[in-house]
């Protein structure tokens, strides 16, 4: 009898602080698996965000640097330019990458930095208590939009992947979703491809991972997957954008 699925060695054998059914756990594992399959653990430097994943460095078994809120890509730029032999990636949520860090994101993409960005989109601010994020869907109820997001008051969901894909310096942009085993496997191959792009000096690669936040969506984890398939992926269409 052969072991066909288990924890990979880049993922530490510790309990995470994430809520039950949180998509961060899946995304952490996919990154660790991609890194181990490409055999680049000794070269990788991860930039962890501010947000729910702020202590992701406790869960990964490779080097990480913690960034101030939203500044992940500024730090990644510096590290990659000083140490071009290292594989540098940022792991950022929607509050970090699409709200406070929009300037850093857009400009790092526009400069075409040779970096890998893993953008976790769960349409809500998890760490601070479920407030509205730039990516919150129209009509979605959050702590700061209790009657649902209203276009007149709060505007439309910000589609960072589509915005970034317009920039000539960007090599690859893909949106995937951890809403089913098939979706998770697609997400893994997208993340692996994004690391491979950096190894081949192709340039800026961004993978947007739609991820569940059952706690602040006020759904069960199982219903969260259905909501992602039926509602969230309508607003954020999946697939290769660039």
């Amino acid at each position: 009898m052969k072991k066909v699925f288990s924890r990979t060695s880049s993922l530490r054998d510790v309990d995470t602080h994430y809520c039950s059914g949180c998509g961060h756990g899946i995304a952490h594992r996919l990154i660790a698996e991609a890194i181990d399959e490409l055999d680049i653990r000794e070269q990788v430097i991860g930039i962890t965000p501010v947000g729910c994943a702020v202590i992701a460095y406790n869960y990964w078994n490779f080097d990480c640097v913690e960034s101030p809120h939203g500044r992940g890509l500024a730090i990644a730029t510096a590290i990659k330019r000083v140490r071009p032999q290292n594989i540098v990636f940022t792991y950022q949520g929607d509050g970090d990458l699409a709200a406070i860090g929009t300037a850093e994101t857009i400009h790092a993409a526009n400069r075409g930095e040779n970096l890998t960005v893993i953008f976790i989109n769960n349409a809500v601010y998890g760490m601070t208590g479920g407030q509205m994020a730039p990516t919150t869907l129209i009509g979605q109820k959050t702590a700061t939009s209790p009657r649902g997001r209203d276009i007149g008051n709060e505007g439309y969901p910000l589609k960072i992947s589509e915005i970034v894909a317009q920039l000539p310096g960007v090599y690859s942009v893909e949106r995937v979703s951890c809403d089913s085993p098939k979706g998770v496997l697609k997400a893994k191959s997208a993340i692996k491809a994004a690391f491979k792009n950096q190894m081949d000096n192709k340039g800026f690669s961004l993978v947007e991972v739609l991820s569940a936040c059952p706690t602040y969506w006020s759904l069960t984890p199982a219903d969260s997957l259905d909501w992602m398939q039926n509602t969230m992926s309508k607003e954020f269409p999946l697939g290769k954008i660039k």
Binding site: K3, F5, R7, G25, R29, V184, A222
Partner: protein
């Protein structure tokens, strides 16, 4: 025959594995684990080793053998 191993004390009881198992080989336990939640247990009759449960598990609590 294929089977899975569930790390009882790692499980947070999200039950995503129950949702995705094509053979319905998982169910909620009636006994609490160390975390104080009811984890998932394997029924162990008709597992094909498809790894869906392990792939969807956010806490890497499942190992699959085939």
């Amino acid at each position: 025959m294929a089977h899975i191993k569930i790390k009882r004390d790692k499980c947070k009881g999200c039950m995503l594995c129950i949702k995705v198992c094509p053979k319905g080989q998982l169910k909620e336990d009636s006994v609490l684990n160390k975390k104080g939640i009811k984890p998932v247990v394997f029924l162990g009759q008709d597992c094909t080793g498809c790894t869906f449960c392990g792939v969807i598990c956010p806490d890497t609590a499942i190992e699959v053998y085939k």
